[in-house]
Symmetry: C2
Subunit: 495 residues, 2 copies
C-alpha cells in the first residue's frame, strides 16, 4: 500500500519554485471556474501519520488559492455538544456548498482507526464503521461531490527522523509530546489498521491518494497537482452527475390495491369521544415530555400526507401539550439557495433536535421520493437510491437513541375535494389553496404509487410508518397523539 | 417493509389467463433479444418465507420462457467440496453468461439471515456479511449484470394457513416437516432479520422487489411482469453499461521515481551460488509441500512482469520441486469467448485451487490494471474500481486460509532488448517473440506507471507484492523460491 510513498523523493528548490508558480496560477483559475459554475463542491479529506506534513500542506493550499472560498476544519475528539448527535452529524454540518472547497482534517476515519489500533473495538465493529463510511461517501459522490482523500505517509524511519528534527528546534519543540512518541512506538499497529481502512474505503469513485510525506516540496506539489488535475478534469465535463444506465427493477403492479388503498377511511370519533381522548393523551404527553430522563434522547416526528390531509391540525394538538422551549416545528417547503447547494439530506441534518428535545417535521426528507419523484425533479436513480440513504439516515438517529415516529395522513380524493372547496369558502383559510393544489390532484394516482413504494421501502421495525385514516380529523388527531405518546413512554421505560 | 405485500390480493382465473397469454409472448420475445444481443446477463435472486411460492413461481417462469436459456440453481447448505473454497466461490461458479438468465434460490442471503436469526452470529458479524454482499452485487452491476432480487412474502397468518393447506393434501404433505413449523414459530425473528438484510442490501442499482406470496396467480404475474419490465427497459438502452462522470482522482506524478524504478537491478548470483541455493530452497519446498498439514489450505502464486522478465523460468524452478499431482499452472492469455461472457474475475474464480493444492498463475487478474488499462481495453472507471475488487477477492482467499504470494519480475528496458535479440537468435526460442512485443516496448513508461499504481493499491499486509530484481535470472529465481517457501512454512507453523 505504502510502497511508492516510502521511496525517498527530492526536489531542488529551483524546480520547486518554477512548478509552484505555474501551479498557483492554474489552481486559482480552476477555483474561480468552480465558484462561477457552482455545479459541485470539492471535499478534501486529509489524514496520515504524525509529522507527515498534513498541516503544512493544507496551509500551503490555502496560501496558493483564494482562502475565502476554502473552509478548513479539523475534527478532533467530538465535543460535548457534538456527542448529542449521531457521529456523522458534525461532518454534515460542515459540508462545503457547491462552488467551494472544504478541507477536513481527520474526518470519519481517524476515530475508528485509533480505536481499533488500541484494540478498543473488535475487528467486526471496525468493518461496520467501514461500511458506514462507504455509504456516506457513496451518497456524497452520487450527489456530485468531488471527493479527494489524501493520506500523508512516512515510513517508521522517516517518522522518527521527523520527530527528532521537530524536537531539536525551539520553534517546533511544542509539537512533539509523549503522544507523538507513542504513535511512533506502535507504528506498525496504527499503519496496519490504517492500511486496512484505506484499502476498504478506496472505491472507483473516491480512491485514496497516498502522498509521500518526507520531502516538504515533493509532498506539496503532489497534493497541489492532484487537486488541480481532478478539478480540471471534473470542470471540463459537461454532465453534472453520473447517469445510471442500469435501470433498477421495480415490482410490477397488477391490481390497484396497496397498503394505502386498503385503509378503512370511514373510521371516526364523535366530538365527545374526541374531547375526552384529547384530554387524556395530551395529559400523558405533557407528563412524558417533562420527564427528566427525556434529556437522554431526542424525539423526531415526521408528518406527511396529501394536501389538506390535516397535518397542521395534528401537529398543533401535539404542541399544545409541549413546553414551547422543548420543541421545534420545521416546515419543509422548496429548498433555499443555501440548501440547494448541498446534498438533499443536509437541511434535515441541520435541523435535528439535540437530546431532550422534540422536532416536528411538517413534510420531510420523504419529499425526495414523493414530490421530487412524481414531479420529475430528480432522476430515477436519485430517488431509487434515496430509500437506502433515508434508511441509513434514520438508522443513525435511532442508534443515537432518538425516537422516530412517522405519520402518513391518508384522505380520499373526495374528502380532499370537499376540503379544498371549504377552504375557498372560508376567508381566513383561502390563502391555503392555490391552483397548484388542483394541479397536484391530477397526479393523484402517481402520488398513491409513490406513497405505497415509500412505505414498503422505509417502514422498518425500528422506524415504522403509522398510517393514519384521516377523513375524520378527530380520529386522525387522536391516533397521531396516541402513537407518539406510546413511543415516547416506551422509550422512557427502556431507559 | 412488508406492508404492501401483506395486503390480500385476488385475481380471477379469466383475467389471469388473459394476462399470462400476453406476458408469455413478450417474455419469449425479450429472452430472444437478450440471447441475440448478448450484451448482459440477467441474474434473478429468489428468496422469501417458506410457502411463499418461490418454487412454484420459478417453475412457471421456466414454463413461460425458453428453459434452455435459463439456468436455475438452489443454494442449500454448502457441500463438503464447496466448503473448501471461499463462501462466494459457489456463486461465481454458476453466474449466468451474457445473453442468458440465471436464477439463484437462496444465494448469499440465506445463510447469514438464518445464522443471525438463531443468534449464532453477532450483530456486527451480520453487518460484515451485508457489506460483503453489497460489494459483490456492486461488482456484478458495475460489470453490467441486470440483477433482480425477489423476496416472496407471507404474513404469519398467511404462512400458517399455507402450511396447513399443504399438510392437508397427500400430494404436498411431504413438503411440511418440523423444520417448516419451526420457521413459523420464530416468524418474527426471521422476518425481522430478513427485513434488516433486505433494507441494507437494497441499493439504487439493485433494490429488492417484495412479491406478495399469498395468491398464486397474483404473485406469478408480479414476478413475470417485473422481470419483463426490467428486461425490456434494459434491452432498449443503447449504452452497454453505466458511464461514470465523476473522474476519480489520482496522485499527480512529480518525478520519475517510483517503487519499481527504485529497485537495484544489478543484484546477481554466480552460477555456483545459484546452484547451491537452488538445491537448498527446492529441497525445503519439496518437504513443505508434502507436509500433511498442507491439506488444510491452498497456495496461490501470481507471476507478473515485463515481457521476457523470466516468469516462465521462475515458475519451472518451483514446479520442479512439487509433486505433479499437487499443483496446476494456469497461463493467462486473452480470454476465451466463454470467459468474455462473464465478469473479468470469473476465470480466476474458476481456476482457484482447492485445499492442499498449489496454483501458479503466469499472468493473472492484474491484467485488468496493467494491459487492459494501458491498452484502453476497459474504461478508467473499470480499472479504478478493479483495485478494490481485487483486494476483496484476495481477502476472501486469505480468510479462507489460502497463502497468496505475488511476484513482480522487474527488468530494465535494456535487459529486455537484449533478451528479445537473444530469442530471435535462438531457433527454439524464436516463437516467443512477436511484433507485438516490440509494440509493447513503446508503452514502457505507461506500463511502469500502471505497475507502480498497482503495487501501491494492492500490496497489502496480508497479500504483499514481492518485487523481484530480475535482470539476473539466478538472483530472481532464488528470491522467488525463497519467498514462496518462507510463506508456506510460516503458514504451516501457524497451523
Amino acid at each position: 500500500m505504502f510502497d511508492s510513498a516510502s521511496v525517498v523523493h527530492h526536489l531542488s528548490a529551483q524546480r520547486y519554485e518554477r512548478e509552484v508558480r505555474t501551479l498557483r496560477t492554474k489552481l486559482l483559475e480552476a477555483q474561480f471556474r468552480l465558484a462561477e459554475d457552482k455545479r459541485f463542491p470539492v471535499l478534501l479529506l486529509v489524514s496520515g501519520v504524525e509529522g507527515g506534513g498534513k498541516r503544512e500542506t493544507v496551509n500551503l493550499l490555502n496560501e496558493w488559492m483564494d482562502p475565502r472560498r476554502i473552509r478548513t476544519h479539523a475534527f478532533e475528539e467530538p465535543t460535548r455538544e457534538e456527542r448529542k448527535y449521531p457521529p456523522l452529524w458534525r461532518l454534515w454540518q460542515r459540508l462545503p456548498p457547491k462552488g467551494t472547497i472544504g478541507i477536513f482534517f481527520g474526518g470519519p476515519y481517524v476515530v475508528p482507526v485509533v480505536q481499533r489500533a488500541r484494540r478498543l473495538i473488535s475487528k467486526a465493529a471496525l468493518e461496520v464503521e467501514i461500511a458506514r463510511i462507504r455509504r456516506f461517501e457513496q451518497l456524497l459522490t452520487d450527489e456530485g461531490t468531488l471527493l479527494l482523500k489524501f493520506w500523508f505517509h512516512l515510513s517508521q524511519k522517516q517518522q522518527r527522523a521527523r520527530l527528532e528534527e521537530l524536537e531539536s528546534s525551539k520553534k517546533t519543540r511544542w509539537r512533539v509530546g509523549p503522544h507523538e512518541w507513542m504513535y511512533l512506538e506502535s507504528y506498525d499497529r496504527y499503519t496496519g489498521t490504517a492500511e486496512h481502512v484505506i484499502r476498504a474505503t478506496s472505491t472507483g469513485d473516491a480512491p485514496w491518494v497516498i502522498v509521500p510525506g518526507a520531502d516538504p516540496r515533493y509532498r506539496a506539489l503532489v497534493a497541489g497537482k492532484t487537486l488541480l488535475d481532478s478539478l480540471e478534469e471534473r470542470l471540463s465535463e459537461k454532465r453534472p452527475a453520473r447517469a445510471p444506465t442500469t435501470a433498477a427493477p421495480r415490482a410490477a403492479r397488477i391490481d390497484e390495491l396497496d397498503v394505502v388503498r386498503a385503509l378503512d377511511l370511514s373510521q371516526s370519533l364523535s366530538r365527545e369521544q374526541y374531547e375526552k381522548a384529547l384530554e387524556k393523551w395530551q395529559g400523558r404527553l405533557a407528563i412524558a415530555s417533562r420527564n427528566p430522563r427525556l434529556k437522554d434522547f431526542a424525539v423526531v416526528a415526521v408528518f406527511e400526507g396529501q394536501d389538506a390531509g390535516g397535518k397542521g391540525g395534528a401537529i398543533r394538538r401535539i404542541t399544545q401539550a409541549l413546553d414551547a422551549r422543548a420543541y421545534e416545528g420545521v416546515s419543509i417547503a422548496a429548498p433555499t439557495e443555501e440548501e440547494r447547494a448541498q446534498p438533499y439530506l443536509w437541511r434535515f441534518w441541520r435541523n435535528l433536535p439535540s437530546r431532550g428535545r422534540f422536532t416536528l417535521f411538517d413534510r420531510s426528507w420523504y419529499g425526495r421520493v414523493l414530490v421530487e419523484r412524481v414531479e420529475g425533479l430528480c432522476t430515477e436513480f436519485d430517488w431509487m437510491r434515496a430509500y437506502g440513504e433515508i434508511n441509513d439516515f434514520e438508522a443513525q438517529l435511532i442508534e443515537n437513541g432518538t425516537v422516530v415516529v412517522k405519520f402518513w395522513l391518508a384522505i380520499s380524493k373526495e374528502e380532499q375535494n370537499k376540503r379544498f372547496r371549504a377552504r375557498e369558502g372560508t376567508p381566513f383559510k383561502k390563502w391555503k389553496i392555490t391552483p397548484e393544489d388542483y394541479r397536484n390532484r391530477k397526479k393523484w394516482d402517481a402520488y398513491q404509487l409513490a406513497v405505497s413504494d415509500m412505505i414498503d421501502a422505509t417502514s422498518t421495525e425500528v422506524a415504522p410508518w403509522t398510517l393514519v385514516e384521516a377523513n375524520d380529523k378527530h380520529f386522525a388527531r387522536i391516533k397521531v397523539l396516541k402513537t407518539l405518546v406510546k413511543a415516547v413512554e416506551a422509550r422512557l421505560e427502556k431507559g
